[in-house]
Structure formats: C-alpha cells, structure tokens
Point group: C5
Chain length 354, copies 5
C-alpha cells in the first residue's frame, strides 16, 4: 500500500546492504530480552546491551533473543558481526515494508512475516513486521515495537507446559509462527463483527457513508490478503524440509499451521465475496429508494395536476359559461374532482405503487 511506498522511496540510490530503519519511528530504547532454556532450566533476562548475550553463543541451551524496536541500527549491526548474518538480511529486518518471505542460508533460516493484531483500544488493526533468525540452538526475533502475541509461548516456556521445553529451536520457531497465525483469527473475528454491523446499517438506510465503509473494509481485506498469502509459500517451504534446521517431528506441526493459513485465506476470500454482495445490495437499495421517491412524486403530481386543471377551467372569466350559473354546478365540479382523484388512487393502487 502507499504507506510502504513512501518509506521505500527514501532508499532509492543507496548502496545495497545500507542499514537504515524504514518505518514508524518509535522513541525509546530498544528492549532486548534473552530467554535461555532446556528441559530442566529456564531463565529470563532483560539485557542492556546486545553484547551481554554473546557469551551464551555456544552454550547447549536454547536461546531466544527478542528485540523490540528497530531504531538502534548500531545494535543490529553488531549482531551481523557476531553471528555472521548477511548484510542484506539486516537491511530486510530494518526495512519494515517487506513482503513475507523465507530465506535459507547455510547455517540459519531467515523468516520475515507480519504480526497482525488489534490495537489496545480494539478498533484498529495493527500490522507489525516480525523477523526471525533461526540458527543452531538460537532464535532471534525482531519486532517494531513492544507488545506482541508471544505471551502464551513465553508462558508455556516458563511453566514447562506441553512439549515446548523438550523440543528444539525449530519447535520454538514453530510456536512463534503458530502464535502469529492464531492471532489472525482474532483479527478476522473483529472483521466479522464490523461486517455484521455494516450489514444491519444496510438494512435501514443507504447513505453514501455505507459505500465508503464497504470499500474501506474491502481495502483492508485486500491488504490483509497480501500480507498473509505469501505465508503459505513460507510454511510450504519449511514443510518440504528444505532446511536441515527443521526436524521431522516439527513438520507435522507445520502442516497444522499450513491448514490454518488456508482457512484464514478462505475466510478472507469469503469476506470479500460478502462485501461485494453488500455493495450490490447497497446499489439495489439506492435504486429502490429512487423508485420510491419517484413514485411519491408521480402520485402527487398525477392526482393534483388534473384536478388543478379542472379548477382552472371554472376560474376562467368567460361571460358565457352556463355551468357557472347552475345551482349545483359547484357541487358537481367538486364531485367530478373527487371522482378523478379516487379513480387515480385506485389506478395507482392497482399498479401496486403504494
């Protein structure tokens, strides 16, 4: 969408691999959280500098480094030097206008995708880029700002629920992806509600704002689709075992995510069809309203114009108009008028105009 374009156009002309943060600036310090765990052990630390985590590099435990905030380019560059991440990958992490993708390097996997959630006020949909680097016993996740959908994963790690502490870093990566995809449903539920409200509005009136709302929802839907669709490919690639970092036992779980993505896509497509249908109904309702207005006008005009004409005749000033002298002339004309009026009303009733 245009938003991304604006960001991206700033980079025109820079050499590749230049690290520039492209995206919303959010002030405040980058927050680094380190989780180390194995079957028996679990530790959570909030680090002040990225260097603090380098000492864990070769420990056998699984390390999950989560970085909230991309504004500190220097910090991210140090990761490059320490863990040997390709500069183009770092560029992609910093540039938040990425399309979801997966890249397979010799000793790590790079996955970038969109975390979509409702704003704390619950009215807006927030799309935040999440990048994952999955290496041997280490997973580094990058987020644009604090606040994410990973809390259930953290809780499972802490409370040693399920199998997460028993399985490797690939399962952790799966759990993170799963948390992101599961949250899409929450967003879609909000949509479903918005659509229901819109559908009811449609029943009652047909103001121009309705058309705008339908198209706004449609636009968000298209946007969402574009952000989610490439995920299918990503999970597919992981499933096919193209990376040696993904163990066989995890593949089955990935198939589950895959099914969910297909379901989400199905939902989005159905919603688009429904919005198209609502637009059609909206147009029909405008036309119907117009018909109703025109009927009202026609009934009024068609009844009173002839009557006024009759009155006009007897308002003429001719000297020789015998009817004017008749005793019952006036009543006769009133009768005639009533006759015409009733006749026309009956006629329109028959035509089912009212």
């Amino acid at each position: 969408m245009p938003r991304n374009i604006k960001k991206q156009s700033k980079m025109a002309g820079l050499p590749p691999g230049t690290l520039i943060h492209i995206g919303e600036k959010n002030p405040g310090k980058t927050k680094i959280t380190l989780l180390t765990y194995d079957q028996d052990h679990y530790e959570k630390k909030i680090l002040n500098t990225i260097q603090e985590c380098f000492i864990y590099k070769d420990t056998p435990q699984i390390k999950w480094i989560n970085i909230d905030g991309l504004q500190d380019v220097g910090l991210i560059q140090q990761l490059d030097e320490h863990f040997g991440i390709h500069p183009l990958v770092l560029e992609d992490i910093l540039n938040t206008g990425q399309r979801p993708k997966i890249e397979n390097f010799e000793n790590y996997l790079f996955i970038v995708l969109k975390m979509i959630y409702l704003s704390p006020q619950g009215n807006d949909i927030v799309s935040e880029q999440v990048s994952l680097i999955v290496g041997q016993n280490i997973c580094i996740s990058f987020q644009e700002k604090e606040g994410d959908v990973f809390d259930p994963v953290r809780k499972r790690l802490e409370e040693n629920k399920g199998r997460i502490r028993k399985l490797g870093v690939d399962y952790l990566a799966y759990a993170l992806l799963d948390a992101i995809v599961d949250n899409y449903y929450v967003v879609l539920e909000k949509f479903a509600e918005d659509m229901e409200i819109l559908d009811e509005t449609l029943m009652n009136g047909s103001e121009i704002t309705t058309a705008r709302k339908i198209h706004k929802l449609k636009r968000v839907m298209i946007d969402l689709r574009k952000q989610i669709w490439p995920l299918r490919e990503i999970i597919g690639s992981l499933q096919r075992g193209e990376s040696k970092l993904i163990k066989k036992t995890t593949v089955l779980y990935l198939r589950d995510i895959y099914d969910h993505i297909i379901q989400v896509m199905d939902n989005i497509d159905t919603s688009r069809d429904m919005l198209s249908g609502m637009h059609d109904v909206y147009l029909s309702s405008i036309s119907n309203k117009m018909n109703e207005i025109m009927k009202t006008l026609t009934i009024f005009a068609a009844i009173f114009i002839p009557l006024t004409f009759v009155a006009g005749i007897y308002g003429m000033n001719f000297e020789f108009m015998p009817e004017l002298k008749w005793r019952w002339g006036y009543l006769a004309v009133l009768g005639l008028m009533s006759g015409i009026g009733v006749g026309l009303i009956v006629y329109f009733k028959k035509k089912k105009w009212f």
Copy 2:
C-alpha cells in the same frame, strides 16, 4: 465463514494438540455405536463406554465405531491412547471448523469432510463435520450430533445387500464417503427449487428483498463450494493409491465418487452463473420500473400543465380581453384544450410510451 472464525479465535495461544471441542455444544451424552461384521456375521451394539470396544481390537472382523457428539473430550482422548492416534488428529476432530482434508499416517488414514443435509424441517441446510479414521479392519467415524446420511449403508450392511459385507474396510470407507456425496445432490435439488421460486418472484416484482435473497443464495453457494471443493483433492489422493489401505478394487469406485464431485461442482458453478444472471435481470427490472414511473409522470405532467396554462390565461382579469365576451369563446377554448390534449396523447402513443 465468520462462524468458524469465532470458534477458532478461542484457540489462539493454546499449545498444539490441546483437545478442546470447538463448535456448537449439544447437550446430551455422546452416543457410541459399534458395528462388527464379516461375510457371515453382523452385529450392532450401542456402547456405554468407549472401553467396551477395545476388546474387539484384534478380531479379524471389520469394526465400524460411530461416535455421535464431540463434547466428551475425555472419551476421545482414550481413543488416542488405545489406538495410537496422533494428538493433532484428535485436535482436528474436535475442532469443527476444519477444511476437508486427508492425512496419510503410517497405519491409518484420517479424512475430515462436511456432511451437508437438509434440516428435518427441510428449510435449512445443515453442515456437519464428519471425521473418519480408517485403520486395519477398523473404521471410526466422528459426527457432531446424532442423525446422519449413513442409514442406507447400515441397511446394506444389515441386509447383506450388494458387496459391502464381502469387501474390506476400505470399501466401507468408500460407502460412507459415497453416502455423503450422494446427499449433496439432495441439497442441490432444494437449491434448485429455491432458485425457481426466486426466478418467478423476479418475474412479478422487484422488491429490495429479492436482491437480498439472491445474494443470500449466492453466499450459501460460495460457502458450499468451499466445503465441497477440497473433496476433489481428497478423492484424487485416495484414487492414486497413495495409501496402502486402499485396495485396487476400490479405486474404481472412488473414480465414481470423483465424477460425482465434479458434477456437483459443475452444478454449483452453473447455479452461481444463474444467480448472477438473476441479479442482472433484477437490476434491469428496477430500471425498467423507474422508466415506467417516469413515463406516467411525464405523460400526466406534459398533458395537463399546458392545459392548465390555457385555463390560466382566460382566468386573467384584464379589462380588455375580447375573447371573454365572445359568444362561443368558452366552447372554443374547451375545443382548443381537447385538441392539445388529444395531440399530446397521439404524440406519446407514437413514441410508444403507452
């Protein structure tokens, strides 16, 4: 559709393999029916507990366990332990928002699809998830609630009609799938009737409810399509003999189901085209009605407004208006008015306005 979304969003954050029933709760006990049969033998039992069927595990006879109702999560978990079903499969069985799919495990096949039938009142279309686990000599079917389309299969088993008792568990699975697919035709027939009624309504009037009805039918059609379409892939996969549980002799029968699914899809597509056509005709009929209304108005206005004007002239109070004094002035004016009126009527007749 939104309905599924609401269900699914409850699961966000739970570890994979968590068994939670997602779907309509229907109170009442889960009903377990066990059918054991071979060529010479047929037995039907209604079980109180799932354990009762475990003793049959290694008998050579074919066992069909049918479970109506998914609310008893514990019961389903026991199956897991006893028959060695993967927890993700059980999760899928309980989550009734599944997209139809087939999964090939080492010693069983897992098929999930939608049974679609008319509600007993015959007005609504009910979509119920059916899961099949097909193993060596055993077939377990899971349904959301009592009442299904399998009665003809049960009757054939009981009365030993056709070849069903002579052939293996793969043929039983085929028979169940066939019963489900055959019932799609019944649903489509109901649709065809609804569409015929709608088409007639369209002939007579063009109320806004017609547009709504067209779009409602369209929506159900899209929904149906989404539930049936993946079946094609499922049967295709079975046909290609990707599972060793499916014998060669059964493949030919599966081809038959495959043809039926294609036919059903063809039908749905044709119906959608017809509904689109009906919407177009509907819009045309609104426009035509508007034309008719406007013609009525125009004819009335165009005839009487000039006449009223003429009457207005001779209603003026000028002192020197010689016509007012004429002996035949009044009649002449009446004649003039008739002339104008008839002239305009002829003009509109010529334009074929009425």
Copy 3:
C-alpha cells in the same frame, strides 16, 4: 443444471452399480440395430432381442450395435454378462446426467458424451447422452431415444464411400465422434441467428424481455460449454494413444476433431462476450431512454410552469392592479409569455435537448 440434480438425487443411498435408468422416460420398445461390415460386405439388421447379436461375437467383421432407448434395464444387464462390461459403466450409461468422460478398460474403451441437435421443429436445442463402448471389432452405442446425427456415417458405410469400410473399429468410433462434433456447428449456427435477431430487437426497443432473453441465451451458452468442454480432454486422451485400441492412422483424424472442438469452444466464448456486450448496450439504452423521458418532462414543465405563473399573477383579484386597466395589457402579457416560451425553447435547443 438443476435438471440433472433432480435425477441424481434419486440415487442417493443406493449401492454403487445399481442399474436404474435416470432420465426422461420415453415409452416404446428399445430399438436395437446391428450393422456388420468389412471391406466387401455390409449388412443391416433390426434385432428383437439383444441375444440375437451375441452369435456375431467372434466374427472377424466389424459390428456396430446401436441401442435407442435406455428404459429396458434388463437388456442392458445382459450386455454386461455377455461382453464383460463393468457394472459401474452400465450405471453410467443409464444415468443420463453424466459429464462427458472417457474410461480406459483392459479390453474396451468407454466414452460418454452429449449429442446436441436442434429439435425437429428447429426451435429447441436437444441434448442427448450418447455412450460408446469400443472393443475388439465391436462398437456399441447407446442413445436415449431414436433419432440421431449418425445418418451420414451409416450412408458412408452402406455406400462404401471414403475409407470407412477399409479401416477398423477405431475409425468407426472416430466417425461417430466426428458426426457428433460436426453437428455442434449446426447448433451454433442456430444460436448465431438467435443472437442476430436479439441484436436487432435491441436496436429498436429495450423491454425487460430483452434482458431476459439475453440471459437465457447466456445460460444456454454456459450449459453448452459445460457439455462440450470435457470433450477436449477425451479426444486429447485418445490422441495421446493411451489406448491400444486406437491405431496410429486414426490419431491424425482425431487431431482434426480436436481442432474442431477448440473452434467450437472459441465460438462459444466469443458468443458469451457478445452477449455480455449486448447486456451492456441494453443497460445503456435503458439509461438513454430514461434521459429522453426526463428531457421531455423537463422541457414541458420548464416552459409551461413559468407561463402559468404569469397567468396566475394577472388572475389575482387585487383592486389596484393598474396593468389590468391598460388598453394593451392583455396583448402585452401574451407577448411576454411568447417571449418567455421562445426564450426557453431556444435555451433548450442550445443545450441540444431536442
């Protein structure tokens, strides 16, 4: 289409291979015609019972058994037993709601397709299911009722025209398919005429029936497309030599049919585009007509309403209205009115409203 659905839904619940005739019942006896021929010999017999043809089973001559009428299920069952046809094939023959398809069995080919022709009155399009079983030296064709498009083939056989008597049973099958496909052109020609007539109607008026007719034609077109489209696949499969019954020399002829089917499909697609265009023109013409009506109304109203107002002024009964006393007051007002009228007419002329 709905028609098929109604038929098909009767079969729900029956075991596969159950022989039930699904389709229009046409009373009267099934007609069996046997043609035996080789290069030097040609014989035509009308049989009373199907058994009469069994004696020819192993003769070296080519046998073409044509069966008109599917109501005699028993007769068709005998073919099964005698020639070893699979029961599912017989079921497909009897069920006239088939989608065109080809099935390759070990010693015979089964082809089912639609023969489309104009009814003898020439107004309706009749679609009849034709099934072909092509075996070693034998071809059995099944039709729903008497009357077909095979007469030119019969004549060529009888008069030994072309190469038909010199070549094998695969060439006979080709000739029959070719006759069916060639006849599609005749049907399309009828369509082209209908469309031309409709196009002319469109030039003259824009009644609601036109919209209906356009959509009816479109529907028939969609229907036709669905019946013909699968043929492409069938001929393609024959061409690729997937059956050993088709000799190399015949493949070139099949390529010819293939080209024809593509041409027919092209035609249907073009016709659909044309019908869409006609619908657009229709909608435009309704809007234009509305504009014309509104112009008429506006011109009448805009001219006479101001004039009537002027007349109204001088119809007021104020005591002190000096104009009323003027000698030329009446004429002056008439002049003023003419001026207003002419001015407005000129104004509308300039706006090119008439």
Copy 4:
C-alpha cells in the same frame, strides 16, 4: 465468430478429407506464381496450370509457389498427389475457418494463420487465411484472394537485399511470417486512431451510438486476439527447433517475431482495458447528464410552483379578503414573490446546482 460457424456447418456429415472450399467465393481464375531463386539467380513466372511447376521439383534452387484463390479444388488436389500432402491438410487449407496452427509432418511443415490488413479503402479490417507448406527447398503459400502483404519480401528477393537469397527456405518462411506479423501493427494503428476519435466523441456527447461503437470495437478486438493468440504457440514451437526443417540461424529471427507477437497481444489487451474504461466513462456521463436534466427541472419547478401558489391565493374569490383592498397589496405580493424567487435561487446556488 458466427461467420465461421455458418461455413463450418455445411461440412457436417461429410467424410474427413473431403475437399470443399469453405469461405467467400471470389470468381476469377486461381493465380499461380512461381519464384525460383538462389544466391545468383532469380526468376518469376506466372503459371497457367499447376503442372508447370512440377518439373522444378528436384532442382536445388529454392521455389516459392504462391496460390491466390482457393476455389479450384482440382488444382489443390493435384498438389496432394504430386507433393504427397496429407488430405486432411488440404481440407484445412480449403476451409478458411481455421484457427492458426502448426503441424509437423515428416517432410514438411504445415502452418496456417491469418493475414490481417486494411481494405484498400482503409476503413475495414480484412482477415484472410494464409496457409504455408514448407518442404525441402520448397514453400507453397495459399491465399484466399489476390493482394497480400508479401510485396516487401518479393522486392527483397528480386533486388537481393539483405540475406534472404543467401539463406534457405526456412528463412523465406520466416520472412513471410514476419511480413504478416509486421502488418498487424498497421491494423492496430488504425484501431488506435478509431479509439482516439471515439474518445473525443465521448467528451462531447453521450448518445447511444457511442455505446454501440465501443462494443463494436471491443468485439473486433476480441476477434483479433483470437486470431493472433495461437500464433504465439506456433512461433514458440518453431523456435524450440521441433522441426528439422528450421535451421539454428533462423531461430534467432523467430525469437524476434515472437517478441512482436507478445507486443501485439499487449497492445490488444491494453486497448481492451481502455475500451472498458471508455464504457465506464460513458455510463458516468449518462448519469451526469441525467443529474443535470433533473437539476434543471427541479430548479424550475421548485421556484415557480410556490410562486404560482401565492398567485393562486390572491386569485381566490372570497368576499372577505382584506389584502385585496389594500393600496399596496399588489406590489407587496409582487415583492413577496420576488423574495421567494431570489431566496430559492440563492439556496440552489449555495447547493452548487448551477
């Protein structure tokens, strides 16, 4: 398109390979032109009978036989016998309703395509079928009538320009195809002009003929697309070197044609998009015009109807209407009327109605 259908339906029932000329009959003799050339030699002859060219059969020089007119079926049959062309190919040559295609025979290539050019008057688009048979050192081209786009090729041959005389018969075939494809640009240029004119018409008015013209152009576009699209496949097939008659050096040139066809298709698609846009603008302009008409009506009616009502009040004949007696009553009412009139005008001005 319907035109072809009419032709084709005549063939229904004829045995395959029957030589019948299907297409416009153009009287006059078939014109046979023989060109023989090699690097040093060039000769042009107009032949009276086809036999005259048979003597050249085995000369090492390259022979291009061009046949204008297909009405002489006998002549074309002799080619069959002499050069060993398959009867189905000859049938295709004579039947001018062919879809462009290429067929690869053992010792010759058969290409059929459409030559599209402007009629000499420059107003109509003429589509003529050209068939090419390319053999060892011989190229036979068949055209429906005299007049073609090959003159530049002939000139290059005669004047020994470029490499045409140095290269083989495959290069000649390429040159002919190139001439045909190059001419598509000329036709498209004419289209572009027609569309520009139409676009200007659209700016000025919105008569129903505009809608018709847009759809006529659209139809021609669809038609053109269908005639050109299969060429892509043909050239693609030639390029892939599927025929041993095409030398490697020629393949590069064919790639050039391929690019041109893609460009032509791009153009046609863009034009279709533009025509769709024009139709949308047309519909908008009708609606806008309607709005304008209705505004005019509403302004007139809304201003004068209330004024007429005021005049009507003082035209009542009540005995006790004090205003009528007032000295300034008349002027006061005139003032009141002016006030109402000006007020309404200001109101509509504010609403930006005029």
Copy 5:
C-alpha cells in the same frame, strides 16, 4: 499502448536487422561517456567519437560506456562491428517500443528495460528505454536522452563507497538495474499522492472529470504494470545463473531486486483495486446526488401542488359557492392550507427525506 504501435508500424516490410531509430527524435549530439575503474583507479571521460573507446577493449579494468541519444545510427553500427553485437540486438536497442527482455548470447548479455522517472517539473511520468550490454569487463548502456537515475551509482564509483569498485562488471549491471527499480518507488509515491488528492475530490463532489481522472490513473497503472512485469522474469533468469557472466556473489543481490519488483507489482495491484473502489464510490455518489435532487423536487412539488389546487378551487367563478360568502372563509382556507403543508412536511420528515 497506441504510441508504440505508431512507431512500430513504420517498420512493416523492412528486412530484419535494419537499423532505424524508432522513437522520439531529440535533436543534439549523442553523448558518449566512458568510465573506467578498478579497485584503485577511476577515470571519467566524455568522448567525441565512439572509436576513442575501442582502444580500451582488452584492458583488465572495468569499462562502462554510457550512450545518451539513439539518433546516430552510424555510431551504433560501429559498435556492432567492433564488439560483435548481433544486428537484431542493435535493432532492438534503436526501437524504443521494446518490451523488457533479456537475451543470453555467447559472450554478452543483452537486457532491455524501462527507466521510469518523474519529469523535472514533477508532474509527468517519463518512461525511457534503457538497454544494457554486459560483456567481459565491459558494460554498455544506451539511453534515449540525457538525464537518468544512475547518478548515485556514479557517485559510489567515484567515491569508492560500498563494494562496487571491488566487484566485477556483473555487480555494476546489478547496481544499474537496482537504481532503475529503486526509482519505481519514487514514481509510485507520486501516484499515491495523486490518488489521495483524487480521493478527497471524491468526498466533495462528483463531477464527470473525476471519472475521467480515475480512468486516466487506472490507464497509467495498467501501462506501468506492463512495463515492469516482464522484469520479474528477467531478474529471475539472471538469478538462476543462466549466464556465466553473473557470479554467485551477485545472485544474492539480484534476489533483493526481485523482492523489490514483487513489492512494486503488489503496490500497483493494490492501487488498481483502490481505483476500482473509487470508481464504485463515485458511481454511488452520483446515484446519491440524484436521489437528493429528486427528493428536493418531490418535496416542493408534493407540498405546493395540492395547495395550489385548493387555491384553484376557490378561484372558480361559480355563482353558488357558499364558502366565498363566509366571514371566516378566507382564514379557514388559509388554515386548511397550512394544515396540509405542515402535514406533508411532517410526513416527509418521518420518511427522513430531510
């Protein structure tokens, strides 16, 4: 688009490889710039004749020859002779109506694509053809006129920024392609602004020019899409390492461009969807406006026509109309009229007409 067609149709009939400049003529001399560089060395020269660069042919340094202006056909022909470029390639360079493409020759790569940038005034989008010939240590770029988007690349070369001087000619080619693709974002940003402005216009009014502007933007979008889309294929082909001139290290950078192109395409598609939505809203707003106009008319007419009729009754001149004599007749009628008026206003208020 039509523009290209006009150019291209000039070439009809010319032998392939004829060098003719097709495109806008821009007077002035062709400008040749030679850049030679390696890790330690950088030199920039403006050449008067193309021959001056031939002496560098076999130096180990990387040479980038940039040619601005295609009008000097002779100059380009010399390149052919000296560097052994195929004449068809030169023809493609000169013909500025090319579709983006890549061609793989034995010792050089030929890439043609579109450089799209805003005109210096910033209002128009300029599309200029850029051709690249990438050989061993040499890159020749051809542009239609002076002024390009390569300045950042030149600066990086001059200032030895990034890795550009360390890497080979394939990286230079990548840098040029990257500069072109990066600039697409700048163009799209301009579009996004235009669309925002249009969207605001849409909020306020609904003039016919809005429809035109929407369609103009749509057209430019379609145009842009067509010019950018083939790039995907080009970069894809380079990435797959189909040319030995592209080193492995560069492939990763190409993947980056590939992602950008996909992003640009996504953007264009989203913009098209948004424009379609805007057109729909536009149509809705026209219909709404019409409804509003009709309501105004109907309210005025429906209120005053009955009142005028009442006034008309008491304007009749019957001798026996008792009401006329009543003391309070006039006031009673005025009261009646107010009653009717208020009643109708209340009625329309209830209908929410104003």
